[in-house]
């Protein structure tokens, strides 16, 4: 099972054609910018695939405390080379996320490792559900 997934032939340069794929299922591609969002205690953890993008190319922005925007640019290769096949997405990207609760912008941590961006957003303390004590009024 799975032996024929992802096979394709690479034609010789001299023939001048682009590589054609035989039985290549494009729905098997792992999505660039695929994202997972977890909740660990009261911290939102976002993991975003961003291979080949340096930290200074990514911008994490919090709008109105509950809309998160992750954007950036993957540089387009400008070498003097010819593309025989181009599948990887390059250029500008953006992902928007509606956060389930307001977060503390001062305590947000974002870092890139192995081509994966991890953003940790702690919940704003004042937005935590809390119990309001009900006092009994007594006539003295």
């Amino acid at each position: 099972m799975g032996a024929n997934v992802g096979r394709f032939l690479m034609n010789a340069v001299t023939k001048g054609d682009f590589a054609s794929s035989l039985g290549h299922r494009s729905d098997c591609f792992d999505e660039f910018f695929a994202m997972n969002v977890y909740l660990e205690d009261q911290v939102l953890v976002i993991e975003l695939n961003a291979p080949g993008i340096a930290e200074d190319q990514i911008s994490v922005q919090l709008n109105k405390g509950t809309v998160l925007s992750i954007s950036g640019t993957r540089p387009v290769r400008d070498e003097k080379k010819v593309f025989l096949r181009k599948e990887r997405l390059e250029g500008r990207f953006e992902r928007l996320l509606n956060l389930p609760f307001p977060v503390d912008a001062d305590r947000v941590d974002a870092r890139v490792e192995l081509g994966v961006l991890t953003v940790k957003l702690p919940r704003l303390a004042s937005s935590l559900p809390r119990r309001i004590p009900v006092n009994q009024q007594r006539d003295s």
Partner: protein, 125 residues
């Protein structure tokens, strides 16, 4: 009766990593997106002019330390795998690869006309 333990997350789908193929006079360059992969997680094999790339991202098979709730799941615990057939002009014995920031760059030098192998010298910095 023997009971069978099937664990959550035991199956890993195979995903095809996106690849660019660039051509210059001396070599072909393959660039693959492999986010979350460490160099020890990549397996590159060449057999009979077929190049196979297989990579396991770090998170595969690992249970997170803290208990957590999943709110959105687009990434899977997939293993990346892709094969490429190399044309005769490629010198399979001179293939080299480098992994950085989730990008795998594979250099496929071409055989020169007189059959000698060209060795490229890299400069640091």
């Amino acid at each position: 009766m023997v009971s069978e333990q099937i664990q959550v997350g035991q199956l890993n789908p195979i995903r095809v990593p996106r690849a660019d193929v660039l051509d210059s006079k001396l070599e072909l360059t393959l660039v693959l997106d492999l986010p979350g992969v460490v160099d020890t997680g990549v397996e590159l094999t060449v057999e009979k002019q077929v190049l196979k790339v297989r990579a396991t991202p770090e998170r595969v098979g690992k249970v997170p330390d803290n208990p957590r709730k999943v709110l959105l799941l687009e990434k899977t615990t997939a293993i990346y795998e892709r094969t490429f057939r190399l044309q005769d002009e490629i010198d399979a014995s001179a293939i080299s690869a480098n992994l950085a920031d989730g990008l795998l760059t594979v250099r496929l030098p071409k055989k020169t006309d007189d059959g000698t192998r060209r060795i490229s010298v890299g400069f640091a910095g």
